[in-house]
Symmetry: C2
């Protein structure tokens, strides 16, 4: 096993190659790689267009059990599997999301992966990276400014100022901006009204960028955004405000996927980062489809656990982009099984086979759910040093009973050498062409029934509870032509239910839908079940207080 | 003369070289050029450090008469002169400001220069460029969030919530954000208070980035920002909020100057862009000092006319950075002289020698003022096709009477070939070592007297008018240790006076100081004379409505 170092020490010691060398592995000519420094690049839109008629590689989804404070290592496994596939001779790339800048100044920021399975350059990826999120912020807020400007200059469209649904965004944890009154100060500043800011990752523009096939599709979707309603409740679109063209211009560079590298110098696309609750939580479609044209294997991940992340990956991203995943990996850890089995975090160090067994049904349900989409499943046991043989065996036995295989992976400690078995299994599944993917529900199912289908089939709930007003709103959208949209569930990631404390595989619960929202540009209906925060706050001691540059010019305190 | 094309057509037809080739002209090794695409790069902080002991080239300031709707072409002349110096065999670079993104979506955006004297890539420079302004926005708003967060978690520093002077910023024309109430919505969102947003270029962080010598100086200055006052009116600093380290991290890439090229493939540093009213209006000190270490001649410009721009360049930027300008070019046009002589814009096409003569005293006063700083002066007559020989001769004769020379420049039409005479004259002045630069007033002059000195010596006003409260505030800052700071005048750019309609060279006027502000981090006191808008609004028909991508993927409507 490798000597113990922190993630950031390992990342800084990485033997990075020039990004042109990484692009060359995928056959991207250097004139089509737009560099950002020496270790990041965007793949040019022209090159992506030229790939249209190429065959596509195999798409592998990495998902997980419900997250626990013990940590599962979903991104670490995604990165490790990409390296593992390269190690066994496959041309593989990974696709993951970009990090949001703001939250890093609250709690310590995230690495992209961990141990010897990371994507670099870590600092840049946790700061401005290639500026995509800033571009999204600008495009979103240009629309906001144009709406208030339209009202200011006479409101020709007849917008009901009380019904402007389009807010503003900032990539910052700033609770003071959640709920504000704008346009105070008199005639020159417009008509006062109540509104607020969300964090940039919650912007519908983010979801749109991540679902758009190309720049034309991007502009069409931006135009489709519903920004406000009139007194007669008819919608006002972004297109009516004439902001869609300028927003597309602001987003044209951001639409080009970013290429970076793993610690083992394998290609990694890191592009887009929508919320995994009020949005679908996957990296961009354009990164995934580009990677599929360039690599034989593309490993990607979905947000949160499989109940939220994989379901949305299949029912929103794959459905809309026509993707056919060839295999799915569900990441679990012995420690997380123990926590699901009732063990407290401080007791995770001691062997407890019974607790492991007791926690396994959480994993079991994710296996069954994922298989339900027609996709072959393998379980990756992300190995921790404290895991005992008996505990690992208990997970393996349980998974075998569910008709799947669990493979111990040591990529965190050993890089690709520790994950060869999983890589070989994934290749076996993918090349068997066993996948027979189909989404959970058809487009033409009524919206409320779609919510019920997800709640019953995925969450194993007994019923969905919703006020008349919620059902009426859904019917209204169906009449307005939005009935064919998929549903994006916003609920806690910690449980199959809407109660974050209900671990394991609960049954008999109900799913209360508090509110529904239309993301007409992104192309889904959001069903909000519980408290969803779209603008975080900073903690009492924000990590920003200790972030700084050290004498070598390196960033301290961010990780 | 070249065939007539628009600026954007000329810019798009440019035969750009890889940015590494441009860097090589200045001896920058490609590993120290951090590319952003193929035609933009940042110069690495390490390389800049390595230049410390090198000798410096000659610094040439390009300034202008008071701007008129006829247009003077200050940036065009800056670019042209840089090309002209290269043409006559000098190793020359130019240094100009970055454009602000937001205003481009209101009125049509600006080129960097014009005709055959431009800097490219124009689209990028009018959009996100290398992300510097986004980084400034993030750093500014992180501090804002940390202030409200500090109050939220108990307000240990005892900030008076009514006296938080630090606002938020956005690079957008959005009048609705000028005056807002934040933290509505109950306990979880903090304490409601009135505040607002300015446009990013008005941020003190922008001024700081443009005046900081290096990253250490940047962090010190950020720490010095006064963000609020207590009930006893004692100041609370950014350093007390512990935001300075994290802000420095957010700004570390933005501090590296950007390198691009002119149409003639000569090096151009484009870095920083503070307001020219409430700030000093010059590109960054670090770009200028870096260019001076790499080139024999560095041509730079200052904002607005010489009364505001050159005065601040000399009294703030040169004073603080220890720069010694070798020569100054004052740009004038026959058309602008005519407007100063009372001709309306629609009548500029007809010859009117008398009006030219009548308008020349505006130019004459700028010549005398600039000479007053000990810097040798030459006038560049930026040629327009409608100029007649007699009109040009009138300007030349007038300038000769003022003890200077006026040289006709045709760089707009002919590129460097049209500006050789000016280039040679500038070299002659610079190599004569005639410059004997000193600022207008000493550091230890009382603050109010500094304002009076500028008003009387530069604006030729009779007196400065200010309420008791303004004078008391200045005295208070003197007692608090800020008396040594220079003064940054914020007044209209259209006149020597504070009345924008008073063209020519007015006398007998008075300068009313409405308000004074402390920019303790940037290191100046702002004296506000008249209405200064720090958050613009969009017009009735914003240019954003017609901005879009055409079928070739080029940006339309931005220029």
């Amino acid at each position: 096993m490798a000597e113990f170092k922190t993630d950031i020490e390992i990342a800084r010691a990485a033997n990075k190659k020039p990004i042109q060398d990484i692009g060359a592995k995928l056959g991207i000519p250097s004139e089509h790689l737009l560099p950002y420094g020496h270790d990041k690049a965007k793949v040019s839109a022209d090159f992506i267009k030229s790939l249209r008629d190429r065959p596509e590689g195999k798409l592998v989804l990495v998902t997980a059990i419900n997250p626990t404070p013990a940590g599962e290592g979903k991104t670490t496994t995604t990165v490790g599997l990409g390296d593992g596939l390269n190690r066994i001779g496959k041309k593989a790339a990974i696709c993951i999301r970009e990090a949001s800048l703001g939250p890093n100044f609250g709690m310590k920021g995230g690495a992209a992966g961990g141990g010897h399975a990371q994507v670099v350059p870590m600092e840049d990826m946790n700061l401005h990276f290639t500026g995509d999120f800033h571009a999204i912020t600008s495009a979103h807020n240009l629309l906001s400014a144009m709406i208030d400007n339209h009202i200011y200059w006479g409101n020709e469209l007849g917008i009901d100022e009380r019904r402007v649904t389009w807010r503003r965004v900032m990539d910052m944890n700033d609770r003071a901006l959640r709920d504000i009154v704008v346009s105070l100060g008199g005639v020159a500043n417009g008509f006062p009204r109540q509104t607020g800011f969300d964090i940039t990752v919650a912007s519908e523009v983010m979801a749109i960028l991540c679902l758009a096939k190309d720049l034309d599709d991007l502009q069409k979707r931006l135009g489709d955004i519903v920004v406000a309603y009139r007194r007669d409740k008819s919608p006002v679109y972004c297109r009516d405000i004439k902001a869609d063209g300028a927003m597309t211009v602001l987003l044209k560079d951001a639409m080009q996927p970013n290429l970076v590298q793993t610690l083992e110098n394998n290609p990694a696309f890191v592009h887009g980062g929508p919320f995994a609750n009020i949005a679908h939580g996957c990296n961009s479609v354009i990164a995934t489809t580009t990677a599929l044209k360039l690599a034989d294997y593309v490993v990607t991940e979905a947000g949160f656990g499989a109940d939220l992340g994989a379901e949305k990956f299949f029912d929103i991203k794959c459905r809309k982009a026509g993707l056919k995943p060839a295999a799915a990996v569900i990441v679990a850890t012995v420690r997380a099984m123990k926590m699901n089995g009732g063990v407290k975090k401080e007791d995770l160090g001691s062997e407890n086979v019974e607790a492991v067994k007791k926690g396994c049904p959480n994993l079991g349900r994710h296996i069954a759910n994922t298989k339900g989409f027609g996709v072959p499943v393998v379980v990756a046991i992300n190995h921790f040093v404290s895991d005992t043989e008996a505990e690992i065996q208990a997970v393996k036995d349980y998974v075998a009973e569910q008709g799947a295989e669990a493979i111990v992976c040591r990529h965190w400690a050993d890089g690709s050498a520790g994950i060869e078995d999983l890589a070989r299994k994934v290749v076996e599944m993918a090349e068997s062409d066993a996948s027979n993917f189909s989404p959970l529900y058809p487009d033409d199912m009524p919206l409320f029934q779609k919510i019920e289908t997800i709640a019953k089939r995925i969450y194993h709930a007994d019923e969905v509870i919703a006020d008349k007003s919620v059902r009426a709103q859904l019917r209204q959208w169906e009449e307005a032509g939005y009935g064919h949209l998929p549903v994006c569930m916003a609920k806690t990631q910690y449980s199959f239910s809407t109660d974050p404390n209900l671990r394991g595989a609960p049954t008999g619960h109900s799913v209360p839908v508090r509110e529904v929202r239309l993301s007409a540009g992104a192309g889904f209906i959001v069903a909000i079940c519980g408290e969803i925060m779209t603008m975080p706050g900073l903690p009492r001691k924000p990590s920003a207080e200790v972030i700084g540059l050290n004498d070598e010019g390196n960033v301290e305190g961010l990780f």
